[in-house]
Structures are given as structure tokens and as C-alpha cells.
Amino acid sequence: MYTWITNESDRAQWQAFVDAAKKKDPEFNLTLEGPSFNDYWTKVKTRLSSSGAPCIITTQAARAQELKDLTVPLDDMVKSNNVDVSMYNKAMIDGLTVDGSLRGIPYDAEPVVLYYNKDLLAAAGVKEPGLDYTTTQFTQDLKALTKDGVSGLAVPPGFGSGPGLPLAFANGNGPVKDGKLDLTNEGLVKDQQFAFDLVAKDKVGNPPQASDGTDVPEQQFMSGKAAMIIDGPWMYETLTTKTQGKVGIAVVPSTSGKSVGMIQGSAFAIAASCKDKEAAFKNIMKITTPEVVGAVGAARGTVPSVESAVKDWAGNKPAADVSVVESLLKSGRPLVTTPNWNQVETNFSQYSGEGFRGSKSAREIFSTIANSAK
């Protein structure tokens, strides 16, 4: 399988799939290879065009459009193998459907959340957020938390990784309209500007460098140098166990306080170059059963794509954290993008430093990216 392996946490997650599938089929095995998450979307294209390319690849609902020429439609195999697609998260299935055909079987459906360091909040006298969190309160809290060498918010340079895009989703805005890139819509521009201003004007976070991976802000959070970070539930296990201080999660703040979740889910797909697609599909089905995705969710914190398995994920977690994810799952929308999304992401990382430093506005940056991505 060709997938992203950014760090040991990623490798442990993929191994958890193999281990869970082995419980039912001891002979089952899966060889893993791949680059970091940031490099994956560039390298998967060249890897699949080379000889001996792997049959199974990972994709996302957000990238299904972009990788459609690399993957095969699964509808016929779903039918012939009597797979009940309705058991998977509907938002994910919608996101993975390109031009009317399904391109991947999802293993998770993860609404992006706000992680906070309980100890730092308590020390700053800030009340822990929960299911209702307004951007006004968020700004006040971040200001209160920014002191003594600690930043309120850890900030990555990427678009999808936030904080701008999850904040826009929380307010019901997004970057795509009717299948086309819509970066300059008022809502998105305003929400991204809010995110830029948090750093450039309110100084509640350090401006990121373009080449920073998501691991850089995550390290800031884990080391206690930042009190909050917007990230996916797939980081739950790592962030809750490796952070200096206790960690809680809340919804991503919105203007009204009623947040819409940005569902970032991933899936297994079959490479168009695969010689034995039927065998690849059967292997995918072994690692996306409710039992397997539930077991991986329990072990690694990824929110299962199968609703009936969410209880396995919730089993050992605090009720408050579970309610946050369940609430966002109910209100959430999948991040569906366009075929040129990699260009948008790359350009945004390149330009976001200027936004977070205040030398360019969100509108200027989005206009440049929109023109470049034509």
C-alpha cells in the first residue's frame, strides 16, 4: 500500500489496521511505503506511473477529485461483492464520489477539532470551551493565554490544516462552489482574514514558515509552548498522551457559537495501474470492516467511517471529548475540493506567511492563488 508515513504515529496507525485485520485472517499482510503527508500528493502521481506501483493507495474525500485519473471506480466491485456502502459515513461517501462513481472506501470520518491544554487554561484563568464556542470568546481566551513565552495558538502554514479553513467551515463557508474553486467569496476571505489577524494583529501565535510541516505546530502544542491548536482527531492519541499537561477538545469556534464540522476523512482506493483489482478490493474490504475501523479508532483515536463502530472509538475517551466529535459529525460537511487542490495548498503555504505577518490581506492572497490555479 502506498500511503503517507510522516512519523511513527502514522506508521503505528497503518500497523493497527494490519493487526486488526489479522485477528480475522492471520495470513493477512500489507506492505507499507510512502513519503510524508505533505509530499504524498505530489509523489503519489509519479509513484503510480512507475513500474511495480502498489495496488492500494490512500486518498481523501478532499483529494478524490484530484486523484480521479489514478484510481478506478469501485461501483462494480461494490455490487459484485455485495458491499453495503450505506454503513459508511454518508458525507465521506459523497466526498469520495467523483463524476457519479465511488473512488475509495473510507476508513475514517473526522471532524477537525480544537485541542486545548487544560493546565495552561487553568493557569491563565480561562474557562474550558466545549460545544458552543464563539470567535469573540476564542480571541479573548487566546489573548489571555499568550504570556510568559506561551502562545495562545499554534499555527501551521497550510490551508486545509488551518486555522483559516476550519474556521470558515465552522461558519458555514468553504472554498468550493458547484464543483469549482471559489476562493474569493466574502465568507471565506473574512474568516481567513480573522485567522491571519489573530497572529498579525493580536499576536496570539507565531507566524509559521512556509516550509513548516504540521509537525512543527504540533510540537509547539505538545511542548506546552502553545495552549491551543486546531487539528484532526487522527492526532488525538498523540496529542493527549505526549503533551505536557492534560488535553481536552472543543468545537472549532464560530461567529454564532454553533459550529459546522469540517470533516476530513481518508479512504483506501485502487490504483488504475493495478493488475489484480479484485484482489486489491478484497484486501481493502478486510481493513474497512466495522470491527477493524473500530479497533483502529480505539487504539489510535481515528474516528471510524462506520457509524456503528464509533462506540468502539468512544469507549476509552472522556465523555466531553466524545460529545464534541459526535456533535461535529452530526453538523459536519466533508471537505470536497477541486482537481487542482494541490496547487491551491502549495501556493497557500507559500503565501500564508505574508498573511500571518500582515503584509498581505486574505483577499490579495486568495486572488493570487485563484489566478494562478486557472
Binding site: 500528493w41 505530489t42 502521481k45 509519479t46 506511473s49 485519473d69 489514478l70 507565531n206 507566524p207 509559521p208 514558515q209 512556509a210 516550509s211 488504475a272 482537481p339 487542482n340 494541490n342 496547487q343 502549495t346 503555504s349 507559500q350 503565501y351 500564508s352 506567511g353 505574508e354 505577518r357 503584509s359 498581505k360 494562478s372
Partner: protein
């Protein structure tokens, strides 16, 4: 000096032996020529063909004629920005590299026994993988990295070396000079070793001071090595990729985006192989013209009289 004409005359009298030598030469040259054909000529021609197409990595290519070139020259402001960045990098990097390499190699030459030891020290970054070097420099130049921590000891609040558009390119140039200077130090050091001490001694006897000896004797005698270093350094500087890719990702904005990074992105990240090929040809033409200009001035600037 008389052996070669004699051999040529002998060979001219024995055409059968010439054929034998020719065949042997062809056999020896075949692997190299085959490699040149497969890895240079074929990709070169292929990229020229691809540049005339709208060619995604996957999916059907579409013939667009010269559209990619027209877009590059008149419809893509980023191309002119990255070209300007690349030229700026090439000029600063080449001048800094050559001036420092010349100064350091002259100093090392004067050290005598310790010279080779320091040459090895300066050469280590050249043979260290560029990726490793770039990552170390990235850690050093981050906002709370080693450089700013050092400055903080003196009460100086260090700037954002890689995130400030005024400083990012300068940081890349400094890192690149550190990485590449050892090569020129070795070449210029070899050139200095080749200068006859008798010439310098004669100049000294004639009353030439240290500066006069350097500018009137050393520099002219070193001009073949300097010419080689200049040509190679300029060509290398136009191909700069790893440093902006790993240290700044071309940002902030387009401030450190270079033509090869832009070319790579268009080809492999943005799925525009045709446009990337057109960019590659633009780079090829620019480097070829600059190199041709240098060679046209070779007789005027380079002293080959030993």
C-alpha cells in the same frame, strides 16, 4: 612536441591501422555515447515535444503549439518574478562565492602545511548531502533557532531569516555559498599551486609589492581556473532548487521562488508537464546564452600563456 605530427604522418600512411583504432575508439566510446543518447538526447527531444502540448501526468495530452511559450512570456507574471529571483541569486551567489573562494584559497595557500587540512574542512559541506545541510540551516535560521538564540545573548531580537521576504533570499544565498565554496577553493588552490614560484620571485626582485604581485602575476596566471569556476558556478546557480524547496518553499510569497522550483512544481505538483517543459527550455536557452557569452570573451580575459 614533435611526436604528434610524426604519429599523424605514420597513421596517414597506414589506413588499415586507423580503421582499427577507430573501431576500438568506437567500442570504448559506446557506453558513454549510449548513456548520453538515452539520458540526455532523448529526454531533451522529448521535453521539446512535450512543451508543445498541454500534457497532464495522467490523462490525454493535447497539442497546443506554442501556447505554453506565449503564456510563459506574456501571460504568467510568476515566470518573470522567478526569473528575476534566479538572476539575483545567480549574480549574488557567483560573485560572493568567487571572491570569497579566491580570498580563502590565497590565504590557505600561504599557510603551508596547514593549508590542506583547512581545504578539507571547507570541502566537507560540498560532499555532505544538500538535503541534510538545508535541514540543519533551517533549524538554525528559524525564529527561535540557534542564530537568533545567539543574538539574544547580546540583547538583539533576531529577525525572521526565512519568513521575511526582505531577508529570505539573502539567507538562501549565504547558505548556498557555505555549501558550495569548498569546490572552488579546491580548484583555485590547484591553480595557485601551478603558478611557478620563479615568476613571483622575479616580480619581487623587480620591486613589485604584495598587491602588485597578486593583481599582475597571480590573477593572470590563475585566470584559466577562475574562468572554469565562473562558468561552472553560474550554471550551478541557475539550477538552484533544494535550498528554496526545503528552507522556504519558495516563500514568503514568491520572494525565493526560483525557475527550477517553479518548473518542478508545474510538472509534478500542478500536473502541467507541458508548461514545465517550456520553462525547462527557457532555462536551457538562458544558460546556453550566458555560457556562450563567457566563452566568446575567453580569449580576451583568460591567459593561457605559461
Amino acid at each position: 612536441m614533435t611526436a604528434l605530427p610524426t604519429l599523424a604522418v605514420k597513421n596517414a600512411k597506414k589506413p588499415a591501422r586507423v580503421t582499427g583504432h577507430g573501431k576500438l575508439a568506437a567500442v570504448y566510446l559506446a557506453p558513454g555515447m549510449l548513456g548520453f543518447l538515452i539520458f540526455i538526447v532523448v529526454p531533451l527531444v522529448a521535453s521539446l515535444v512535450i512543451s508543445l502540448f498541454d500534457w497532464p501526468l495522467f490523462g490525454a495530452p493535447k497539442f497546443v503549439g506554442l501556447d505554453n511559450y506565449v503564456r510563459m512570456l506574456s501571460g504568467d507574471p510568476v515566470f518573470w518574478t522567478v526569473l528575476g529571483n534566479t538572476l539575483f541569486f545567480a549574480v549574488c551567489y557567483t560573485v560572493l562565492n568567487l571572491v570569497l573562494a579566491l580570498a580563502l584559497s590565497t590565504w590557505l595557500h600561504s599557510l603551508g602545511g596547514w593549508g590542506p587540512f583547512f581545504r578539507v574542512l571547507f570541502f566537507i559541506p560540498v560532499v555532505t548531502p544538500m538535503v541534510a545541510n538545508a535541514l540543519v540551516w533551517r533549524l538554525m535560521l528559524t525564529d527561535d533557532g540557534v542564530v537568533n538564540s545567539f543574538l539574544a545573548n547580546f540583547g538583539i531580537h533576531g529577525p525572521s531569516w526565512l519568513s521575511d521576504s526582505q531577508l529570505a533570499m539573502g539567507s538562501l544565498i549565504v547558505m548556498s555559498v557555505w555549501q558550495g565554496i569548498g569546490y572552488n577553493i579546491i580548484v583555485l588552490g590547484a591553480g595557485l599551486n601551478g603558478i611557478s614560484p620563479n615568476l613571483l620571485e622575479a616580480a619581487r626582485i623587480d620591486g613589485a609589492g604584495a598587491l602588485q604581485r597578486f593583481f599582475r602575476v597571480v590573477l593572470p596566471m590563475l585566470s584559466p581556473s577562475l574562468f572554469f569556476c565562473t562558468v561552472m558556478t553560474i550554471i550551478g546557480s541557475f539550477k538552484v532548487f533544494t535550498q528554496p524547496y526545503l528552507l522556504t518553499l519558495g516563500g514568503p510569497g514568491e520572494s525565493t521562488n526560483t525557475i527550477v522550483l517553479y518548473l518542478y512544481r508545474n510538472g509534478f505538483s500542478f500536473d502541467k508537464l507541458g508548461y514545465a517543459s517550456a520553462l525547462a527550455w527557457a532555462l536551457f536557452v538562458i544558460v546556453m546564452l550566458i555560457t556562450a557569452l563567457q566563452f566568446s570573451q575567453q580569449k580576451r580575459l583568460v591567459n593561457y600563456d605559461n
